[in-house]
Subunit: 340 residues, 2 copies
């Protein structure tokens, strides 16, 4: 275990920038190494988001009591970038630059740091992002606080408050896979080859930048990324748009690996309540949403905007019963009422 | 002690945005509450920096063993904003928006959070900044990771690599005051009225936005903020500009409160090695630097750029001896050699 202290703060930063390779923004107006970074504006509008990943909360890289690690340092670095790119994608904007404040806990030695940086660099390359600046501190718990800056050419964006009555509601990919991967890891079932897709979804989620752009190009105006769980995130649209959103459980795009690993009932729970998928949920005219499916990611219509229960999103089961989400996942609570 | 859990994540965010008052950016293209914030670009160039403050490293708000608190939650919130604004000021740019990733440790109850937000809001108002977005998590240690976005009209900026031979070197205010305030607190001398200015410098530093702009307007092109200590930060200029920088100890603008509290020798050590002052250090033609002094902040010429020892900054004492900085403060090491 190589201690970081020997390098000193500035030695550490030099090493990080060197290992970022072409993921470091070296050719901007002011590259890393001055008081602040600077770049000529792209597009008319700046889009900006920040999201922190906390060791022990969002991931475990070392054994903690009886709990095995959930991912590698490289995975944690990847996710810190991808989760932020996802918020830019959910606006229909293009990601440009990341700033990273890293608080390194005692479990981070030099090898761990190198892997962390490699994972960040890989996610940057995958999503067309470069790191323009950052800050490194020591602490008692590792925190990766990333800010992602992007742009929009004209200023039109996917918003949460643009859901309209009679819109269809669609989601990309197979929500619930990340939560499924985590559930397998927590149950000590992380090594079976049949589960690889679920583990990959948890450890290396890919943000849907192209889909966000394609949605805007297709005149879709309402979207969100599925980071808190499908029903809960649709609830954010419902609240911001003052509409109701009804999801048909029968139409959920369950992934075969999830159904195989957990059975259908639990796969449904994961799809409705599992977070951190970084898929996009959008609302708009049915035919526009259908046209968004691509070779790289399916887009499935799962529900509709309705007049009743403004501010709420719920799932309708085969018996016509309504299930509301809860912050801990929709499945922890019984149905609230029979559907009207 | 009111627990934060009762509010839930979204209740917490609503409360924070409400308490930010006019420090929240409510009238931008996409205000807080969507996947990302968005605003129409100001100026041609975006300037961006990130800096994290870690509880127990950068401040103590609660008693820790034998150690008394160094500042209030409101002070910590203020400093998290001001330290980032300072990096924008050091580019000669104008600060616009902040994004805040807050990891709240167990010592943060609802009252502490309210005070933290009030301190951030006060610093935002003082520096003309508004908070455009953020993220809140729980953790075992409080971390305030702030990203500050600003702009430059034409793209001309104060750089570290623009120091030139025969430039004069100047610093604003009275460097060492913040470290002096902290030293008093650590020694249990924080309650004496004569020390108020030093404590204020530590707890409520003001970033030098107007000075950075004025320097650029006066065709000064080289600057940095004094966050690591005067000699160390001048060393960053020396390294980036491939020049030597010599500081005359006799010309240091010692604050009377520092001299009174510590005596002249220790006040000099603090001025050369003490960090977190958020004053600006600039290099340029003597007469241009002299003209930067204003009613609100003095600017003092303390040294010059020389041809010898490129990449180094040092202090010259009354006996002609050269003192180099060290990361832990210049005073921990003896002089390296007689001056040439």
């Amino acid at each position: 275990m190589t201690d970081l202290g020997a390098l000193g703060e500035f030695g550490l930063i030099e090493r990080i920038v060197a290992r970022l390779g072409d993921a470091a923004a070296r050719d901007i107006l002011v590259p890393p190494g001055d008081d602040a970074a600077a770049w000529r504006n792209r597009g008319a509008v700046t889009v900006a988001t920040t999201d922190a990943l906390v060791e022990g909360v969002h991931w475990r890289t070392v054994v903690s009591g009886a709990d095995a690690p959930t991912m590698s340092w490289a995975d944690a670095g990847w996710r810190a970038i991808a989760s932020n790119v996802s918020d830019i994608a959910a606006m229909g904007a293009m990601p440009d630059f990341a700033l990273v404040s890293a608080v390194l806990g005692p479990s981070v030695d030099l090898e761990a740091l190198d892997h962390l940086v490699e994972g960040m660099a890989a996610a940057c390359r995958e999503h067309g992002v470069r790191i323009a600046g950052g800050d490194v501190d020591r602490g008692s718990q590792t925190v990766l606080a990333v800010t992602l800056l992007g742009h929009s050419e004209g200023g039109t964006l996917l918003r949460r408050n643009m859901g309209r009555l009679d819109d269809a509601v669609a989601v990309s990919g197979h929500p619930g896979m990340s939560a499924g991967g985590l559930a397998l890891l927590e149950a000590g079932r992380g090594t079976e080859p049949a589960h690889a897709a679920l583990l990959q979804a948890h450890r290396r989620p890919r943000a849907r930048v192209e889909l966000g752009r394609a949605a805007l190009d297709a005149s879709v105006r309402c979207g969100i990324d599925v980071s808190d769980g499908l029903l809960q995130d649709l609830g954010h649209i419902a609240e911001a748009s003052r509409i109701g959103i009804e999801v048909d459980i029968e139409r959920l795009p369950l992934h075969p690996a999830a159904t195989a690993a957990f059975g259908r009932a639990r796969a449904i729970e994961l799809a409705l309540g599992g977070g951190e998928d970084y898929e996009l949920a959008v609302t708009g005219p049915d035919e526009r949403l259908r046209a968004l499916s691509s070779a790289s990611v399916p887009v499935t219509i799962v529900g509709r905007v309705v007049a009743g229960h403004p501010g709420e999103a719920w799932a309708l089961d085969a018996n016509g019963r309504r299930h509301l989400p809860r912050s801990a996942g929709w499945d922890h609570f019984p149905p609230v009422e029979a559907a009207p």
